[in-house]
Subunit: 648 residues, 2 copies
């Protein structure tokens, strides 16, 4: 656990009631410690290696020969190549490297990042414009196709990378480059005569501008973010105007309408999560930021409705969402197929971002529970235990053909899950004028501020493998404030004590948090004991394929069966009402225990594909491993929703 | 039941050991009678109405203004429009009309068909060429893209229509037109200098040329069919040569290889059913025809292996196949998803054709069982009970959004299922020098020939709703021959009697048929009693989604649950080991009885999308209707694979 805490801070604080601490304020060990170390030691380098091997630096660096088009245009869409997104991949990789530098000084890594940043510095146009695709591969087409071409999205991820790198190193070079670019964007886009009233087909820059505004203290970046949020989906539709300007029929579009980009209606009118999943959650994150930064209550009805629509009707048990490969996104309510689930890693990561911003209004279990579910399952699965391979789409069932990629043609997910893991501490806490919230449990130490005093809050816990958490509070000065500790929605019971004296949990619960208000003194210690049996979750009957089946969950972790533990034919295995789970150690799972229960295995008695005979049964031991840890051992089948015979 | 039998016959008989009778030899009543009447009275007219409303006659008739391109090119494939297939739709519609005329004289229908035929007559090129797309919409591009553009496929369906119309009316006009076109095709294609060594991307003409050869008695059409079969998949690959000739990169293709068109390897080397499902089954039908017509044993290993691969690993319980919309075809073994099943109506129809041709070698239950399964379920479902609406794709589960079309942009299925229903009698029987086979049971009367004598074979039965079948034999002359009666593979027991005397079924079984050899006398009567309880079929464990579920089948009919009988939430319903089915009458199912059993309904006890609480149960009555009859009443959910709790 790295304890130096002299990193650079934002110039302006988030205006949210509850703010997430900066990454460097929280030092994380326990469950996430080795994962963060792996990102710092391995993944942060791997990402740069593979970006450069893909040719990204050749595209960026004006001193190198122009490599031209390297990746064919995507099938069925003659306006988009993944090469257009490469700046964003560098942006997220730099952000990952920055968080890695919090965890561990690494001059080699820092020098590699500086080399990339200098290439961008040389590339930047005199007017501030900066996009390697439009400057080197398709010059002359700047700002002509915001709908399809990710130009502002690229800028957003670079801004996020610049802010993180500034925080980690104190070097302003990349931050200044991106601020200059943001100033240019603010000239090009806006409500005034001669400005474009456009916004990006792939939301992202909105939340990035908020981060840039906080880092620099410049209100104009917040205003620009608000402009992008407000313009979205207005009539006449910018993407149609823009298409006509390119001489194209606006209807000549890969999708039937503008739902794919969440620009089908103004954001304040939106009530249903639609379209591309990652775009959706990035947009809603930006909306939540704008809502809290400007105290804008008019965005809340949309945010609340969108949250409910996602979590009540469209969320996988893993916290993934967006079932369809066709639009990388949403289809219709309760459409949550397992084997064909797209559930892109980036979507689960983006859901963590969104949930985290929804917590800006104050502790509320509705958001924190989903944040935790997405983090530990649908997001974390994207990164192999050794930090070198990545899942893009995340089915909940596989016949054995689904494996992590060394690299992906569209490499958005690898740096996205890496930056999330390396910055996970910021999601664990919230600080406000009058209180501190513990949203996630993990072995950690956070340097926070409340009521004008510094407070170190530390957690001792084996969570998520054990439900006991000891929270120690060390204020510099004794002040009265409220400590809010999440009571997970999945927990059937939680007991608590303060300095050894039992606390009445239900009497002190508010929005799913145990709230303790007192004059906190150095050494105060709250202990939680969260009951954490193996739960068998049943799905809403409208999710037809999951009926007669259960998903195994213990604490925040969803489990799955793998062929390597159970043999082939996972759908032949059945849990019964007598099945009781025990835990056992297992190799190759990064220290996670395996669940073991007795059930039975069916075998078709008749001949052929279909037979009238009742299947034969034999006793079988059924083993389950955390979903995030699957496909780290021998290849094979995987299954989340396991058959279960209920007692009659 | 129409009894006049003075229709026109083929000039040459099939050389298969067992031949299907011509359509007019069999008069069908019972279960199929009303369906055939509906096709004759309604569908045959509806098809012409809708073809003409779509603009097909405008495209064909050279005396009408050239309508130009009417339907946009298909997404992702800039070489194909459905308009290219329109001649095939007319061909199949004319074939349907021809069979309708067997069932019932209809001067209006005949006049309408003659009008279309005359338009084709005027369109035909001096050299015999005939294709409305290439003559009127894309002149100058004849024979330049056999891979994508269905040019020979169109010819094939028109040939089939011409043969049927000649049989029904005795008019040679259309037959002569198509024979002239076939002669032109035989000049263009062939192994000699200056001829093209090509074949159609969509097989069909192979089996059509065999029918044309039989109707006309011309060996050269058989030779041409064999040429197309033999050339397929040879190296160098014709489609690649042709693409290069168009100035296109052969790799610039919508699919990764030539499996889509079953031209990835020579047909005799093929062992796995791949690619587009309808193309596959048409090709295999043509291969079976060539095998029997030429006594070509070298095609048999492929045909046997392909049959096994389809039926052992890739067939839906409905007899549909081809799960994927992407290629309208096959994916990988045991990939048989229910809700997203493509299972095109045409594929099930084509499977009936293929199975029927495999029976050319002699009675064999392996083929007849699958023929019956595809006919009664995956094919018949394509036509609404009133004969006016059509299914294209056939999922085995629907959340309520899947309904028959009034017309389809690609209207291949409507005339395909209509022509099959109207000609179903030909699939019920087989005749050979030394025997008669009854492949399908249905109330019917067939005028056949065996051992040099005419024999009228008639069936009295309520099949498929009752398993008792009385077969009456009326030979003109008493001769010794073998009567083979199918013993359905799904039947657990069959008892039989000959003129009231019990027959030892198992002692007289051969390849799944009861074979009775004797000197048959007028009035001989064989009675079969086929046990027909409701069976609960289990699926091979490798079809994961079907585990813990059963498909209900009684006789040849697969049943399904519909929302209109059971309420919403069909996946909440569970059959138990105590569930016993009774029958009840129901409205709106064309006289089919409904199955009724007691089971229970689950209700999620907890809140939200996922809950740890055990579901609550309440008793529920579960009703099932024949799959072919679904979506003929109120709209709603549908489910074939029903949950079932086995006894512990």
């Amino acid at each position: 656990m790295n304890s130096h805490a002299s990193f650079n801070r934002d110039a302006a604080r988030p205006k949210a009631k509850f703010r997430p601490p900066a990454v460097h304020q929280v030092r994380v060990g326990g469950f996430f410690g080795p994962r963060i170390d792996t990102v710092a030691n391995t993944t942060a380098h791997t990402l740069l290696d593979r970006c450069i091997a893909a040719g990204m630096l050749d595209q960026v660096d004006p001193d190198r020969p122009n490599p031209g088009l390297k990746i064919p245009f995507q099938t069925g869409n003659d306006t988009v190549t993944t090469q257009m997104f490469w700046d964003s991949d560098f942006g997220k990789s730099i952000e990952t490297a920055a968080y890695a530098l919090f965890a561990k000084p690494d001059p080699t890594l820092e020098a590699r990042v500086d080399e990339v940043i200098e290439a961008y510095g040389r590339l930047q146009d005199e007017n501030g414009y900066l996009n390697s695709w439009y400057q080197r591969i398709e010059p002359g087409k700047r700002w002509t196709n915001l709908r399809d071409c990710h130009e502002l999205y690229d800028a957003g991820h670079m801004m996020e990378g610049a802010v993180a790198y500034y925080h980690a190193t104190g070097k302003r070079r990349f931050l200044d480059i991106m601020a200059r670019y943001a100033d240019h964007i603010a000239e090009v886009f806006g409500p005034n005569e001669g400005q474009k009233r456009g916004y990006c087909g792939h939301p992202e820059i909105e939340l990035a501008l908020v981060r840039l505004a906080r880092a620099t203290g410049e209100q104009r970046y917040l205003d620009l973010a608000r402009f992008f949020v407000n313009e979205r989906g207005q009539d006449p539709h910018y993407f149609d105007i823009e298409a006509a300007r390119r001489g194209r029929d606006p209807k000549d579009y890969h999708f039937a309408n503008h739902e794919y980009t969440q620009s089908h209606e103004p954001v304040r009118e939106q009530r249903h999560v639609v379209g591309h999943a990652v775009r959706a959650a990035y947009l809603y994150s930006g909306m939540a930021d704008i809502s809290t930064e400007f105290g804008d209550e008019t965005l809340k009805p949309a945010l609340e409705a969108l949250w409910g629509h996602l979590t009540d009707k469209n969320l996988y048990v893993t916290g993934g969402f967006g079932p369809s490969a066709h639009n990388e996104g949403l289809t219709f309510d309760y459409d949550l197929p397992n084997e064909t689930a797209y559930a892109e890693t980036c979507a689960a990561v983006a859901l963590v971002f969104w949930a985290n911003r929804m917590l800006g209004l104050g502790p509320d279990r509705r958001y924190a529970d989903v944040m935790e579910r997405a983090l530990y399952n649908g997001a974390l699965v994207g990164l192999s235990l050794d930090g070198t391979r990545f899942f893009y789409d995340n089915p909940l069932e596989s016949r054995g053909g689904h494996h992590r990629w060394t690299w992906h043609r569209c490499p958005c997910c690898p740096p996205n899950i890496a930056r999330l893991v390396a910055s996970v501490g910021t999601y664990a806490y919230g600080e406000s004028e009058d209180g501190i919230a513990v949203h996630l449990f993990c072995q950690s130490e956070a340097d926070l501020e409340v009521s004008g005093t510094k407070v170190r809050v530390s957690q001792e816990t084996l969570y998520p493998f054990d439900g006991r958490v000891a929270v120690r509070v060390e204020p510099e000065t004794e002040r009265e404030w409220t400590l809010s500790l999440r009571l997970p929605g999945w927990a059937r019971s939680v007991t608590a004590s303060l300095n050894g004296t039992p606390v009445d949990v239900s009497a002190n619960e508010r929005n799913g948090y145990l709230t303790l208000r007192r004059i906190w003194q150095p050494g105060d210690r709250v202990e939680l004991d969260i009951d954490m049996p193996v739960e068998m979750l049943r799905a809403d009957p409208r999710i037809g394929a999951n009926q007669g089946r259960v998903a195994l969950q213990r604490g925040p972790l969803v489990y799955c069966l793998e062929e390597t533990d159970n043999g082939a034919g996972l759908n032949s295995l059945v849990l019964t009402s007598q099945s009781r789970f025990a835990y056992e150690e297992a190799d190759g799972l990064g220290g996670a225990p395996r669940l073991v229960a007795e059930g039975f295995k069916e075998r078709l008695s008749g001949q052929g594909l279909y037979a009238a005979e009742k299947p034969a049964r034999e006793a079988a031991t059924i083993r389950a491993v955390p979903y995030y840890a699957w496909d780290n051992r021998a290849e094979g089948e995987m299954l989340v929703w396991v058959r279960r015979e209920e007692a009659q």
